[in-house]
Amino acid sequence: MEKVTNDTIKHVATLAQLEFSEEELAKFTSQMRKILEMAEELQAVDTTGVEETVQVVDRDTVFREDVPEKWQTREEMLKNVPDKSNGFVKVPVIIDKDDNQ
């Protein structure tokens, strides 16, 4: 397979919102490489015409009726919020980054 490089790991880390030091990155890259080598073994299985299984559930079309219910109060919902203000969840400002930066 195509080699898993530091750059692959960096790209995936961005998708997953994780950051690694250079040292960690080297460790993770080598570990990921080994795990993906193992995963690569699956390519040997002939799955032509095989449907995928994404869950093993004995029901389908499970609906709820459109009846509004009040569960938690705002105070309950805000209980675990690290930073809040006037009933809002407060977060540092959002910087819109260009993808190409």
Binding site: L15, Q17, V54, Q55, V57, R59, D60, T61, V62, F63, R64, E65, D66, V67, P68, E69, K70, W71, Q72, R74, M77, L78, S85, N86, G87, F88, V89, K90, V91, P92, V93, I94, D96, K97, D98, D99, N100
Partner: protein
């Protein structure tokens, strides 16, 4: 060089449900921040989604109204991206198996009819709302999180801004008349994203597209697309290259402004939502929904004009929104003459709504009361002058017009056996007026009617008085 434009539209409609798509939190507009939320909306650890049946029903109505193919098996998927208003950091949507595909709407542009095709439509959850402060912080409100959305994706086959707007107007009308959404752009229950690319005429391969998100009005759609057509042409003519990007329409300058350049499609890592089973849409259910589908605006227009004989203009005023058309239909169903009902709806009722900045659903007037009042006019019980008073009372307080007229003694005096002696008495008392009348002074009639009205304190039916008076005068 000539250029061809290719325009595609993605329209999000908020579906009109009482509770959210995956949680029973109430859906209300304008509630205090974070009051209409629960642990599901917040993506609390351990919570699971449960699908609101009404969301499917409303979605299926739109699918039927747009002649779309309804997928017998649908499934939800996760779309992954991090943002503070996206509490699970994935949106539950339908990526692989959407609700419906291959629909169309028919529009008329520049006098030509054209079918604009719908690629697919899917149901999904809305996100919360970020408000950016000026102090380096943003504030998040999750009330909107989980409000059900129907996203309708057109084929990229519109070629000019007028076509795009015609498509949007038609789509809005269709969705509105199913009753599936309020389609209010100002409240965000209809939101529009556009994309446009241009290429030299004759070239097969599409140009690079530019996206514009959340346009606020159809006019902004038209202006921004027209601006982009021109801007992209100038780039190509000067030998430049259009960049794959998102742009924003600046309403002050009428220009589009670059927001961000994109490297390629974002990597949303879609995969099937394991917390929800597949949803099988049975044909019987679709048939039942189809059988109960409200009439479209076009169907209603035909009835109004062909059956009721309304002028197309009046019909269109009634069809401006579903509520007014429904109200009119109910008024006619309650026994009102359609032309009369249309006149009252389009003048007095609309006037009242404008004055009060209200909607039909907010006021006390009912179709039954409006119909009752129109009947009182046509059977001569009240004059049109009295009718204005009755309307003012009914529209303000929901009072039953018949009862109101009775209780306040507002009914007209139309009984000839009562009125004839009064007419005779007045004519007898005014020989000068008889003289004038005989000499061709028609004004004399007005004077005599006025005298009779005075005696009956305005309640005499003018038509009956006129008739009796002429007969009396002719006999002298």
């Amino acid at each position: 060089m000539n250029f061809t434009s290719t325009i595609g539209l993605e329209v999000h409609f908020e579906l009109k449900t009482k509770s959210k798509i995956f949680s029973p939190s109430p859906v209300t507009y304008g509630a205090k921040p974070n009051t209409e939320t629960n642990v599901i909306d917040w993506g609390y650890p351990g919570t699971l989604p449960m699908v609101n049946k009404e969301v499917y029903r409303l979605g299926l109505m739109v699918a039927l109204a747009t002649h779309s193919h309804i997928n017998p098996v649908t499934h939800f998927d996760r779309k992954n991206y991090f943002y503070p208003d996206n509490p699970k950091a994935y949106q539950i949507t339908q990526f692989f198996k959407p609700l419906a595909e291959n629909g169309y709407v028919e529009v008329e542009v520049h006098g030509k009819k054209k079918k604009i095709h719908i690629h697919e439509m899917h149901i999904e959850e809305d996100a919360g709302k970020n408000t950016h402060g000026t102090n380096g912080f943003s504030y998040v409100d999750y009330n909107r999180q989980g409000v059900p959305l129907l996203e309708v994706v057109s084929e990229p086959e519109m070629t000019d801004p007028d076509e795009a707007v015609a498509y949007l107007e038609k789509l809005r009308e269709i969705v509105q008349f199913t009753g599936a959404s309020d389609v209010k752009m100002e409240e965000g229950s209809m939101r529009i994203d556009t994309n446009i690319s241009i290429r030299p005429a004759g070239q097969k391969e599409l140009g690079t597209k530019v996206e514009m998100k959340n346009l606020n009005s159809f006019e902004h759609v038209r202006l921004s697309l027209a601006y982009e057509q021109k801007r992209q042409q100038e780039i190509l003519l000067s030998g430049g290259r259009v960049r794959l990007s998102t742009r924003r329409f600046d309403t002050n300058t009428g220009k589009t402004v670059l927001e961000r350049v994109k490297e390629g499609d974002a990597d949303y890592r879609y995969f099937p939502e394991p917390d929800l089973p597949p949803y099988h849409i049975k044909q019987e259910w679709v048939d039942e929904i189809a059988a109960n589908l409200p009439k479209t605006a076009d169907e209603r227009r035909k009835i109004y004009v062909d059956e009721y004989g309304l002028k197309p203009y009046d019909a269109n005023v009634l069809l401006q929104n579903k509520e007014s058309s429904d109200f009119f239909d109910a008024t006619v169903a309650a026994g009102a003459d359609p032309q009369q009902a249309a006149n009252w709806m389009n003048t007095q009722v609309n006037g009242y709504l404008n004055e009060k900045h209200a909607e039909l659903k907010d006021i006390a007037l009912t179709p039954e009361n409006l119909a009752a009042m129109i009947k009182l006019i046509s059977d001569g019980t009240i004059s049109s002058k009295i009718a204005k008073k009755v309307f003012a009372e009914t529209v303000a307080n929901g009072t039953d017009p018949k009862k109101y007229v009775e209780e306040n003694g507002m009914a007209q005096l139309s009984d000839e056996s009562v009125l004839a002696p009064m007419v005779k008495e007045v004519v007898d008392a005014n020989p000068q007026s008889v003289e004038d009348y005989k000499n061709g002074k028609d004004r004399a009639i007005g004077f005599l009617v006025g005298q009779i009205m005075k005696q009956t304190r305005g309640k005499a039916n003018p038509k009956v008085i006129n008739k009796l008076l002429l007969a009396d005068l002719a006999s002298r």
